[in-house]
Amino acid sequence: MPAEWVWTGVGVYVVLALAAAVLSRPGRSEDMSAYFLGGRRMGGFVSAMSYSATTYSAFMMIGLAGLTYAGGVGALGFELLYLCGVTLVLVFGPRFWRVGKRFGFITPSEMIGHRYGSRSAGATTALASCIFLIPYAAVQLAGVGYLLSGMTGDAISFTQGTLLAMALAIVFAMVAGLRSVAWTDSLQSVLMIIGATLVVIVVIWQFGGLGAFFDGLAEQPGAMSVPGEGYFTFSTFLALTLPWIFFSISNPQVSQRLFTPGSMKDLRRMLLGFLVFGFIYTFVSVFWGFAARLHFPDLESSDMATPTLLGSELVPTPLALIVMIGILAACVSTIDSIMLTLSSTLSRDVYAAVRPRSSERGQLRLGKLALPVIAGLAYWFAHLELDLVAVLSVSASAGLLVLVPPTVGAFFWKRGTAAGVIVSVVVAGALVFALEATGTLFLGQGSGVWGLLVSVLLFVGVSLLTRPPRDRAEEFIAASRRGRRETSDDDAALAAQR
């Protein structure tokens, strides 16, 4: 595809997205809740689209399609298991929402710090989030680089692609915080789901119908079964899947979204809207991987499956351009959400822990200053140009699995303690980091499996040896269970006290 076409498409997208971002701005966001949580008044549809855009990004259209190209149908099972894992929102969503409203939490780390009666516990989980999420954001930047360079035959370089995504993410996050991010996300999600589904229809037609498509797959033994050709051994499948099953509560950029809906009905719309969106999107991404596999069997890197398909004669150029811009926007929407979450985490949980008397306005100012710094770090990681986008992405989320035991314990185990949180997060987090850095597969299992196992054992073991904050646990768990109507009278007073 000619670079001029791509730049024109990017230009149109930037204008539309900037308009959405500016229109989303209800006035000056002077406090942390307004800027980072949209004032806890986000509607169901925008929340669902934004949750989808934040979750699905370069990984889906490039990474998952690449994984299908490389390993066959196991990629479908892996991603659908992740989607089913979002059922955790059924259990944790209302609880996050209630305690967020009652205690005025801005970040999941702040919630952990409050529940376990320790700012250090909150700061520890905050730092762990930063360490593992910045590489994850880098994966998205690398995705844009692969996409643009692949589709234009390097007329737009990897570096130009990553720089463009970084600049857009900074701008979208700075305009109006979560509101501008959510509105640009929604624009992207709607564009993407329509464009990507049209590509599937066009490609099936080009193949000569669904029957011809499946006949083609039948000629590739192992493509439609696991372990099939050998890529998806059970250990690989488990190592890829496990971190993603817990994604909705382990990754703060999505668990923070549980604080944002305006009502429980909006929370429900967010959950169900996301599940339907995810189901379609997964099918589409896997289909692309199979289509590339059939038509371009000799690609050097599986990450090039999507760019090659979109750049081929199978897809009309205007449609390919729309989808390519959609993927670019998907990467940006994930990066800006991560930046927003990390900057709120740094200002609320680390800066405020070091300077307890800092004002809300001071924390907000620091959060905004942190945005470009986080983006710069992600840009640096992206230039390491690691090979398989999907594997790196999952490695980053494997590290965040260590946050699962403290989060589950916060709502369901009164005996949990701050020491249990700190020790489990630090030791299990370091273990995941060491396993990833050295490429070690202990007993054939991935780092996430060991990280989760060790963090559960340490959280339970150390908690049993230390004294729990019983009153705080009682109060927190009761607030998470009670309905909003029962607590509404004292919500404002408690939030103001904090």
Binding site: G77, L81, L90, M224, S225, L238, L272
Partner: protein, 69 residues
């Protein structure tokens, strides 16, 4: 008394539906690697995973139906 029994029945039904989700997910790990291991076609693991996910989404719809302010 009647209301209490109804409440208990409703809680039990809810618990059964909720527990069926991890059971379905466990099957999504086990069945493709055992029963469907040799079925190398669209009606094998692919169809199983998609139907199981459809069931999980339906359970989410049912179990969140009473979410109100």
């Amino acid at each position: 008394m009647i209301r209490t029994d109804e409440g208990r029945r409703s809680s039990r039904r809810r618990a059964v539906l909720l527990i069926s989700i991890p059971v379905i997910m466990l099957a999504m790990f086990v069945v493709p690697y055992t029963l469907l291991r040799e079925v190398d076609a669209w009606y094998g693991s692919a169809l199983f995973w998609m139907l199981a996910t459809g069931a999980v989404i339906a359970l989410n719809v049912i179990l969140s139906a009473d979410w109100e302010d």
